[in-house]
């Protein structure tokens, strides 16, 4: 069971307070009417589903009710970083950049108050 750093609450919280909401950074096309059926279907249904580093959207449902992003490894389940809506990941499957400061805290082992 995951222990998730909520970037809005600023602390780790139990997975039971959160809901996963699928792949992150899926943007609704700006002009839906200009989309082909194929493009619209891609937006609605087609996903990366990687075996490895995955960016996903979670909501702190029982908590601050904020949506945020999680970069997580889908095999080890290790959470590599969490970041607020509107921000971009610093760790991706291609480039394992330096996590930002707030994220560093979320990665520390054994963080206690």
């Amino acid at each position: 069971m995951f222990y998730i750093y909520c970037p809005y609450c600023g602390e780790h919280r139990e997975e039971e307070e959160f809901h996963p909401k699928g792949q992150a950074h899926i943007e609704r096309p700006k002009d839906p009417e200009a989309c082909s059926d194929e493009a619209w279907g891609d937006y609605l249904f087609f996903r990366d589903n990687p075996r490895g580093v995955h960016h996903e959207l979670w909501v702190h449902a029982v908590g601050c009710r904020k949506f945020f992003n999680v970069t997580r490894h889908t095999v080890t389940y290790e959470i590599l970083e969490t970041y607020k809506m509107g921000e971009q990941p610093s760790i991706t499957a291609d480039a394992q950049g330096q996590p930002r400061e707030a994220v560093a805290a979320s990665r520390q082992e054994g963080v206690r108050a």
Binding site: F2, P20, R47, N49
Partner: protein
């Protein structure tokens, strides 16, 4: 192939079991096959078996990165039923059911298909409407089933709490007598042995690392044991389908999720049927060894770790004890997880792809095991002919563009 029978067993006993043959070979890969199946689970092996047996295509390789039958075939809770709501899904699962009914004899391998019946409980008025809708549709599709009231359920399963005191009282159920359970490992082994005997090469410990594609047409695969060529490739890789699709250059409408199951310690026989409840969210049957085999829904996040989150197990057992308060002092022995590739409409994909000659059979979500023979059979037919079998046709991956989904969420609300 060495025929199996009770008589043979006696004969072998007298020779101290020293003369049993291998159930399948461990061949060296050839350079070229007519068809390559990627994935040596139940569906992949069944596909190979039917290709060889029904469609005369015997120059077939099954490429498996681990051990055959080591994925979801080995991790499911073995329920077989065909009482699906929509015509397309019902046709597919009923096709499988009919094959199940003669499978042990066909394979000369006892897959222990036990038609002990499946109950799908209803706990709310809407549950009962959905049950009636499904059973009515099943009947007109030629699939057995009836709607039971709470009393009927109680008669079938006397140990269940069907009282009005329950938090969500049982109002009734759908009952499919022909449904049941089968011995999951035996299905993979039986198909493997059958396919091998017909000349199929089962290549274990062989991992596909890429596809050979030229001008939009597939002509082989790269593996850790060298390149292998074929003009027809069928991917039957369950949770890993997305990874393979990426290698071939396209995406699928799939998410791979952990699905957990658990067993109790073996107890003396007490439950003769399969009991499933979408509403309180759990299901249970009892194996021939005495274990209560229990499962529930998937975890909500993507995961390839073959494990899920503990609260899912807690909720499942809460549901079981809610339905069966007498099980409170029974003990849970073991839990495990599989990786299920789920589609947005809870129906599988049996489909051509943007790459010519490359076919995918995936997205079975929580419903894969029960479909094994049917899936293998219609997929084999499609690979043999290069055109999708009519039963497979509606399950194209392109339905997610047109919007022609087959929404089986009601039937698949609980993993099974």
């Amino acid at each position: 192939m060495q025929r199996y029978s009770g008589f043979g067993l006696v004969k072998h006993a007298l020779s101290h079991h020293e003369n049993w043959q291998r159930q399948w070979r461990n061949p060296t890969p050839k350079k070229q096959y007519d068809v390559i199946i990627v994935g040596g689970g139940g569906h992949g092996l069944a596909t190979a078996y039917y290709l060889a047996k029904e469609f005369g295509v015997t120059n077939v390789a099954v490429i498996e990165k681990g051990w055959l039958g080591g994925g979801n075939t080995a991790r499911n809770t073995t329920i077989v039923r065909s009482n699906y709501l929509w015509d397309e899904a019902a046709a597919l699962y009923e096709h499988a059911m009919k094959l199940w009914e003669g499978l042990s004899q066909d394979l000369n391998y006892n897959v222990m298909f036990s038609q002990r019946g499946v109950l799908n409980l209803g706990h709310t008025l809407q549950d009962m409407r959905d049950i009636q809708r499904r059973v009515n549709a099943n009947r007109l599709n030629g699939i057995d089933g009836e709607v039971l009231d709470a009393k009927g359920v109680q008669e079938l399963v006397p140990i269940m709490d069907c009282s009005k005191n329950a938090r969500y009282p049982v109002l009734g159920a759908s009952w499919q007598p022909r449904a049941g359970v089968a011995r999951h490992d035996a299905v993979a082994w039986g198909y493997a042995r059958g396919a091998d005997a017909l000349g199929v090469d089962i290549l274990q410990q062989t991992e596909v690392t890429g596809f050979k594609i030229r001008d939009g047409q597939i002509y082989g695969v790269h593996t850790n044991r060298g390149d292998i060529e074929a003009k027809t490739v069928g991917c039957v890789a369950a949770g890993n389908s997305g990874v393979l699709a990426k290698m071939a250059g396209f995406k699928l409408p799939l998410e791979s999720h952990p699905l957990q199951a658990l067993v109790s310690e073996p107890i003396k026989p007490i439950l003769d049927t399969v009991v499933m409840s979408n509403h309180v969210h759990g299901y249970v049957s009892q194996s021939d060894k005495g274990d209560l085999v229990i499962g529930a829904g998937i975890d909500g996040y993507n995961g390839y770790g073959q494990r899920g989150s503990y609260p899912t197990v807690e909720h499942t057992l809460q549901a079981i004890v809610e339905m069966f308060p007498i099980f409170s002092r029974v003990r849970m022995n073991r839990q495990w997880g599989g990786i299920v590739d789920t589609c947005p409409d809870a129906c599988p994909i049996l489909s051509k792809t943007p790459v010519k000659g490359l076919f995918f059979n995936c997205g079975w979500g929580t419903g894969g095991f029960k479909a094994t023979p049917g899936s293998g059979h219609v997929f084999a037919a499609s690979l043999a002919k290069g055109e999708m079998h009519p039963i497979a046709e509606p399950f194209s991956m392109f339905r997610f563009h047109s919007g022609a989904l087959i929404d089986e969420h009601g039937a698949a609300g609980v993993a099974h």
